[in-house]
Symmetry: C2
Subunit: 203 residues, 2 copies
């Protein structure tokens, strides 16, 4: 069985397995054994490739955020106008796979972990900044800089808040409703500020 070039395959398998295990365990308190088992290898191999549990977990966060970023870049590229780009950002945030219970559970676990792990925190800060700056850049085309800052901050908070509320799975809000709520926020705050631009865009 042992063939050459297994390293990248195993690394990916382990990172994916970690994401799955964290997701349905709902916490970073998972064992290397569980992860390794899920990936179909021995715990020793996980240590062999990642050195430590912490490192594997960090790689897992990194990989997850990377995927989110790729999706966002693609969606932004497909959108033409600033207003469309705002919608694209929102849509990606609530994409089905992002909004799955296990994903949200994992996401939450990462936030908790960030309180202790400086490296995890750094990744999440990058995510938060990116979300904010993507929103900001496109809002600036539709209203004044000050207003854009304020609306970006609010929209980012709303997106993250809808996420965390979803994690409780009581009165779950649908993907569409979450998107609608965020769009409504932006539309309503924007309306009195830039009637011209907003009108131009709305069909």
């Amino acid at each position: 069985m042992p063939k050459v070039g297994m390293e990248p395959v195993r690394r990916k398998a382990l990172v994916d397995a970690a994401m799955r295990v964290i997701g349905d365990h709902g916490s970073l308190t998972v064992t290397m054994s569980e992860i390794a088992k899920q990936a179909g290898v021995s715990p020793a191999l996980a240590h062999h490739y990642f050195g430590s549990k912490e490192q594997l977990l960090i790689e897992t966060v990194r990989s997850h955020l990377q995927r989110l970023r790729d999706n966002t870049v693609m969606a932004l590229r497909a959108a033409k106008t600033p207003r469309e780009k705002l919608s694209a950002i929102i849509r990606v945030s609530f994409q089905a796979d992002q909004f799955a219970p296990e994903t949200i559970a994992a996401w939450l676990a990462f936030y908790a972990e960030a309180q202790r792990s400086e490296e995890t925190r750094r990744f999440l800060v990058i995510y938060a900044r990116r979300l904010r700056s993507n929103l900001l850049a496109n809002l600036k085309a539709l209203c004044s800089g000050d207003d854009a800052e304020r609306i970006a901050e609010g929209a980012a908070a709303m997106i993250d808040g809808l996420y965390i509320r979803q994690s409780l799975r009581s009165a779950p809000i649908s993907i569409e409703a979450s998107i609608a709520l965020t769009e409504d926020y932006i539309n309503t705050l924007l309306a009195p500020l830039s009637r011209k631009a907003a009108f131009q865009k709305d069909r």
Copy 2:
């Protein structure tokens, strides 16, 4: 030293200690020893009064949510009009002690724990429902039921989102800015719906 009537004193000391330890540890992965030490008693005593670590943690969540509820009830009582009551709810949510880094860290840890502990989840669901229904009841006095539902959902999400974003401690938003953002959201969404009522309230 042993005097009668220690039980409530010790329980409170342990619950408070747990909150503190969880707060600066930033996670529920804390040991009974740490908590007991912080409370100035032996680990065995913590087990004596709470039976298990899980139970102590659950009591800690309960106590924290209870305090938040008491604050809210008081603030609501002091406010007269529906619009004032909305502001009161927002103000309590971002109160200094609620917004302290350790409190936010603990809060986050509870959310993560809720993925595994049914009882913790129940408490948080109750909190989420209460926030929503407090907002809803007062919004209904200012606009239609459907609009009230929508705005309550959005405001609750924004409050929780501002919280979670705060936990990253990058570009921290001040208490005042968080309140302003949420107030602005409610004002702006309400404005076109009930000019009369909103006007009446705004001085």
